[in-house]
């Protein structure tokens, strides 16, 4: 039966020939070779994008991987990484067997051990910790997709010291979004690609949502929608923008506020939308000095109040019959109150946010800012679209059509990785909401399970840590105020990474980038074991790499390592493996089970929820085990309560068993599809023993399509909200109110003023007062504010090339050919001013150190900015690369010169180099100067580090690859 094409690439100009019968050419070409003996449909893991792939297996080997046309994420397309999966799977850098360190830490000298020995070493060590002080285990993972398991495991173990890669990556985007609109950019929302007419892209050249964004951009281009990119670098997506705004790094917030300023001044905001879906009308108490100053006004019953401008009385903010005002100043019970919107107008109409005031700082002409504002207003208000679909809102009001303002936005890395990223992210959401473009046709759309009422629950647990006792919840969560912080009486952090402390109150993803320093310094306390998974902490997943490596190998007076024991699991011989005492070799993504879960990072899109699995499509040819199964077995050996049955036996056979049978809350497990004994339920239902097979039969994923009336206005759409409750996404079918004014932040401010039970130490108070502003604001990134700008006149950024984004690409024989040496890209005029010419070698110097690399002159970059491809530089002896590889001779790692701490404040305290609200690592704050190398210094990178020894039985990487020749030989032999 012929079915309509599902694939993204199915335009008439992308289809097969009308007649695909081979012509009678007579040249002997076999036009119909057999491709595979079988096709396994699973989920890609070459990055975090979670695309569906068809793996063609021929003669027991992977012949070919292409995109799954039915898959909601990639709809048949596949990126440069996905097609190179074969080279990752057959990488010579794959670990082969558990390893135990024999030489000094960091040398790479190991002996191979059996799994049983590995398990007993780990079990003995960890059980001693659990019996005495569970927080002495710090468990940090990288970009893995099993955080609902790993976090739960940590919780069962009883340690609060758990986090994944998010604190280094993009927690500013997560928290900025979740605390404002109850959803976020990242991979948890998407522009309405089919309807948007004006798309603004902030700080993104490639992203988590790799293929969906590319597919979307293709749609915009095909439709002639306008693409505006705001990015210092004109690469990737920015290359195809109709308008490239080469902004100065860290000033996006100012730019956005200037747009808001213009829109407000011209009265181009959607007041109706603000009243219906936001807290713009809520009254804020304005009583300086009071314990509730800046909090929302509430009546005796705790109901939030607005001001009815007709009745001229306070009224419940959720009273649908009221006529709430947005402006003015009112006195209620003798206390002055003003609506949130009044505060917004007061702040952003100030001349300090006018285009002329910000233009120079942003490096954007004021006229350009005014033009963009005018275009936004024009498209939002003059090109309104209406879908002929009736829907009903949470209050039961029926709407005959779905109205939309076709302006959409997406933002990520360039916003996130600055110390002002949280507020900048909120600023962008504020802009979207003022225009009325969130979850409307043509706007930014939530992907389920979002939106959730900001801030979403639950709160982080770990206030009390007791031997042999699980935490009372998950280690990571969302705080609503100082009472939720994980600090002791003296204000000292409970967690090793100081998340949820005054240093980083809303560190919802933890701060993995502080763990090694904290553990080394014993601040706030020493730990015993650092367990890490798939996270290259001794190289490109740390800032200040040189010192980080030194801390990993540093010992105390007695000669003991200051971080006593390191367990590390990875599939490949990365730069971090040699620093481990015990190495647990993981499988490749084609050899394992995984679930891409609604409890974690699902594959939903805006038109419906979905999740997916990975399943082994080839058998490992080495003595390796999937880390998740190892963790489950470790949990059972340790006797962690939820990992054992009542009789002490292991509850789960392996990860696959866990995926099917684990229930986080009754009826809700890792996978939402085919639940219930017969597989008929979605979302909630009993475990289904055939669940994995049902997934496999369906192409490796489950996806549910919303009814037409559920697709937009999810924050207030009754039909959607009911569905979300039924699925367990949200507890109650209540509207999600966008928090333009973020009250939880104000609670921290009040604590800084001495109010409440939990107050910050004296030294932290000014910082909390300043940065926990309930309305977004702009401040200069910390490093820029701290250094002499004459000395360090340039911003320095790094970005992963598209073909390696979130992948472990330098071991990949195909991908590394594309980029094996990174250059420092410098604007022509900037270089000319420094007397530099193309291909010169320069020292790139920051306050934290210097690194040497080769420059390439470009036009498409902000003139005060230099940038390079990230993580191309590799340490000699790692990743199966040969000693002469460009990666370790000419490529460089900018992380070497990015500080992991801020400059000391007046009291001498140094904070982590992070956003003060979320703890997001601020690796885009870097300031540098360029110094031309002496002639004899040119041609090779520095600093250089000692070459790692190779693990036992590691074969030298081949001198020649003829992958695929075997398939041809077999074909020709068969003829």
């Amino acid at each position: 039966m012929h079915r309509p094409p599902n694939g993204a690439n199915s335009a008439p100009s992308q289809r097969p020939l009308a007649d695909t019968r081979a012509p009678d050419e007579g040249d002997g070409v076999d036009t119909s070779p057999s491709i595979s003996d079988s096709i396994a449909k699973t989920t890609c893991y070459m990055c975090a994008c979670r695309c569906g792939i068809d793996v063609h297996i021929k003669d027991g080997k992977v012949r070919y991987i292409n995109g799954n046309k039915d898959h909601p994420v990639n709809r048949g397309v596949i990126c440069g990484k996905g097609s190179s999966g074969i080279m990752q799977h057959y990488s010579p850098a794959r670990l082969k067997k558990p390893l135990l360190r024999t030489g000094p830490r960091g040398s790479g000298e190991f002996r191979e051990i059996e799994w049983e020995e590995a398990f007993s070493i780990a079990t003995e060590r960890l059980s001693a910790i659990r019996r005495t002080d569970p927080k002495k285990l710090a468990f940090f993972t990288g970009r893995d997709q099993s955080q609902s398991l790993t976090g739960w495991w940590a919780s069962q173990f009883g340690t609060p010291n758990f986090a994944a890669h998010g604190g280094f990556c993009s927690v500013n985007m997560a928290v900025g979004g979740l605390y404002t609109i109850g959803g976020s950019f990242w991979e948890f929302g998407e522009p309405d690609w089919d309807n948007t007419r004006y798309f603004m892209l902030f700080g993104v050249a490639e992203d988590h949502d790799s293929n969906p964004i590319k597919i979307g951009l293709g749609k915009l281009k095909a439709r002639g929608a306008k693409v505006v990119s705001i990015n210092p670098c004109r690469t990737g997506y920015n290359a195809i923008a109709d308008d490239w705004i080469g902004i100065r790094p860290g000033t996006d917030g100012l730019f956005v506020f200037a747009l808001i300023h213009e829109l407000l001044k011209a009265g181009r905001v959607d007041l109706d939308y603000l009243l219906r879906y936001t807290n713009a009308h809520l009254l804020v108490i304005q009583e300086p000095g009071a314990a509730d100053d800046g909090l929302f006004a509430r009546d005796a019953g705790g109901n939030l109040l607005a001001w009815d401008r007709v009745a001229k009385t306070p009224v419940s903010a959720t009273d649908t019959g009221a006529e709430p005002g947005l402006t003015g100043s009112f006195t209620i019970d003798g206390r002055r109150c003003v609506p949130v919107f009044q505060l917004i107008a007061d702040r952003y109409l100030a001349e300090g946010y006018a285009p002329d005031a910000v233009a120079e700082r942003c490096g954007i002409p004021a006229d350009t800012i005014r033009r963009i504002a005018a275009e936004l207003a024009h498209v939002a208000f003059q090109q309104t679209i209406e879908l002929p679909v009736a829907w009903t809102d949470w209050a039961g009001r029926r709407h005959e059509t779905i109205k939309g303002r076709p302006v959409s936005m997406h933002a990520m890395r360039g916003i996130s990785a600055h110390s002002n990223g949280f507020h900048t992210c909120r600023a962008i959401h504020l802009l979207q909401v003022l225009l009325g473009t969130v979850d409307v046709p043509g706007g930014f759309r939530f992907k389920p399970p979002y939106p959730r009422s900001p801030p979403p629950g639950p709160k982080p647990s770990g206030k009390t840590v007791k031997p042999m006792t699980p935490l009372d919840g998950m280690p990571l969560g969302f705080v609503c105020g100082p009472d939720d912080l994980l600090v002791d009486e003296a204000g000292t952090a409970v967690r090793i990474d100081k998340a949820y402390s005054w240093d980083a109150p809303i560190a919802a993803h933890g701060l993995m980038h502080t763990v090694i320093r904290s553990a080394w310094a014993g601040d706030p306390y020493p730990i015993d074991t650092l367990m890490m998974y798939m996270s290259n902490m001794a190289w490109n997943s740390s800032m200040n790499t040189v010192e980080t490596m030194a801390m990993l190998t540093d010992s105390d007076e007695a000669g003991n390592y200051r971080i006593p024991f390191i367990i590390y699991s990875d599939a490949y011989y990365s730069e971090t493996v040699p620093f481990a005492d015990l190495v647990l070799p993981d499988t490749t993504y084609l050899e394992r089970h995984d679930c891409i879960s609604l409890l974690d990072r699902p594959i939903s899109h805006a038109d419906g929820p979905g999740d997916a699995i990975r399943h082994p499509v080839v058998e490992p040819d080495r003595d390796v085990r999937p880390f998740q199964s190892v963790l489950i077995e470790l949990g059972a050996r340790l006797g962690l309560p939820c990992f054992v049955n009542d009789d002490g036996s292991a509850r789960y056979r392996d990860y696959a068993d866990y995926i099917v049978n684990h229930e986080r809350t009754p009826g809700i497990g890792p996978l939402a599809g085919w639940r219930g004994k017969d597989g008929s339920a979605i979302g909630k239902g009993e475990a289904n023993p055939d669940q994995l097979q049902r997934y496999i039969d369906n192409g490796g994923f489950w996806h549910h399509d919303f009814a037409e009336d559920q697709r937009y206005y999810k924050m207030a759409n009754r039909s959607y909200l009911d569905f979300a409750v039924q699925m367990g996404f949200i507890p109650k079918a209540e509207p999600v109110v966008f928090q333009l004014y973020c009250e939880p932040l104000q609670r921290f401010r009040l604590a800084a003023r001495g109010h409440g039970r939990v107050v910050p130490p004296e030294g932290d108070r000014q910082r909390i007062e300043t940065y926990m502003d309930p309305l977004p604001f702009w401040y200069m990134p910390f490093e820029e504010a701290a250094v002499d700008l004459q000395d360090y006149p340039l911003h320095a950024l790094t970005q992963r090339p598209m073909h390696m984004y979130h992948s472990w690409g330098s071991q990949n024989a195909w991908l590394r050919q594309i980029t094996s040496q990174n250059r420092l890209f410098v604007h022509h005029r900037t270089a000319a001013g420094l007397g530099l010419v193309d291909d010169d070698w320069v020292w790139i110097e920051s306050i934290n150190g210097k690194v040497k690399g080769q420059i390439k002159l470009v036009d498409g970059v902000n003139e005060s900015t230099v940038w390079t491809w990230n993580a191309i530089g590799k340490r000699r002896g790692s990743w199966g690369l040969k000693d002469d590889a460009a990666e370790s001779n000419r490529g460089f790692l900018l992380n070497h010169i990015i500080g992991d701490q801020t400059s000391a404040d007046a009291s001498g305290k140094r904070y982590s180099n992070s956003d003060p609200v979320t703890g997001q690592a601020a690796w885009f704050d870097l300031r540098v100067r360029l110094v031309k190398c002496a002639a004899e210094e040119a041609g090779f990178t520095e600093p250089q580090f000692e070459r790692f020894q190779q693990p036992p039985h590691f074969e030298p990487s081949p001198d020649r690859l003829t992958f695929g020749a075997e398939f041809r030989r077999a074909r020709e032999a068969a003829e």
């Binding site: 050919q817 094996s820 040496q821 390439k856």
Partner: protein, 311 residues
């Protein structure tokens, strides 16, 4: 273009060899040079030796030399195939001429015919070699009216200088041949200098704009598709510094043209064996000079694919 030694030697050696063969075929066939076993053996040996060494060298350039026989099949479209065919066919009359002229000590009759045919074959083969290069549109320095005559002139020049050295060596030098060699040397010199001047002023319509289809303004290469050099760059992306090239042009002019012309002019005035010694020296210098000339012929040729790489 990458100046691979195999190809540099091939074109230089066969050029000289075919030049010598053509002269021997004509002059021997018409008894202008009387049959002499040792002269003939060395002369024909040198000519065929250079040709064979050149052809073997070119086969060394092949990825699959064992399949070289296939190269004779596409003479209808391919100058390389035509060259192969012509070179092989030329061996037939050349061999017959050699047998008749050297071993039978004969000329006239079928030997003359064979000599003439060998000469024609030699000229045709050199033409086909020249046309291999002259027909390549992506390389403007080759795809010019200078290339084919250049190959012919240089073949005649090196052949005549070799023949002169040979005859001088056997003390039967001819003033006419000496004069012809000097004149051919001057012609070759002039031709080369004119070619260089032409190439230096060449305005090539193909540029980065037309290569990429991006109209107007400037097109600058930002990043290559791969960090390291690939086949295209190794084979066709060869670059030579202007300074280096100027020096090599001077060396070419000195060795291939000026020195041989001077030596041969001096040989006019000097008796045997000095004239012979100078003639042999002229031939050796010229061959070395022509190797440099041919190296430059490749090194200075710019292939359009380099436009994609910003070279």
């Amino acid at each position: 273009m990458h100046p691979a030694f195999s190809v540099v030697f091939f074109t230089t050696a066969t050029g000289a060899g075919y030049g010598l063969l053509a002269l021997l075929g004509v002059l021997g066939g018409f008894q202008i040079i009387p049959p002499d076993f040792w002269l003939g053996l060395i002369g024909m040996g040198l000519a065929l030796g250079l040709i064979i060494a050149g052809l073997l060298s070119s086969a060394g350039h092949l990825g699959r030399p064992e399949r070289a026989w296939r190269a004779f099949s596409q003479w209808r479209s391919s100058w390389l195939s035509r060259e192969g065919v012509a070179s092989v066919i030329t061996f037939v009359p050349a061999g017959l001429f050699g047998i008749g002229w050297v071993f039978f000590g004969r000329s006239g009759g079928w030997v003359t015919i064979a000599g003439l045919l060998a000469a024609i074959g030699a000229v045709v083969t050199v033409c086909t070699t020249g046309m291999i290069y002259a027909s390549l549109k992506p390389i403007a320095q080759w795809h010019s009216r200078f290339t084919l005559p250049g190959y012919l002139f240089f073949s005649a020049m090196t052949g005549s200088v070799l023949l002169n050295a040979l005859l001088q060596g056997f003390a039967i030098g001819s003033k006419t041949l000496l004069a012809a060699s000097v004149l051919l040397g001057l012609l070759g010199w002039g031709w080369k200098v004119t070619t260089w001047r032409y190439n230096d002023r060449l305005e090539i319509p193909t540029n980065a704009n037309s290569a990429t289809g991006l109209a107007g303004g400037t097109v600058r290469s930002l990043e290559w598709p791969h960090t390291e050099e690939n086949y295209l760059l190794k084979e066709m992306g060869f670059r030579i510094a202007r300074k280096h090239s100027a020096r090599l042009r001077q060396i070419t002019q000195a060795l291939a043209f000026a020195l041989p012309v001077l030596l041969l002019a001096a040989a006019f005035a000097l008796p045997w064996p000095f004239a012979a010694m100078l003639s042999v020296l002229a031939a050796i210098a010229q061959f070395a000079g022509m190797l440099v000339e041919r190296w430059l012929f490749f090194a200075e040729a710019k292939h359009t694919v380099t436009l994609y790489y910003g070279r």
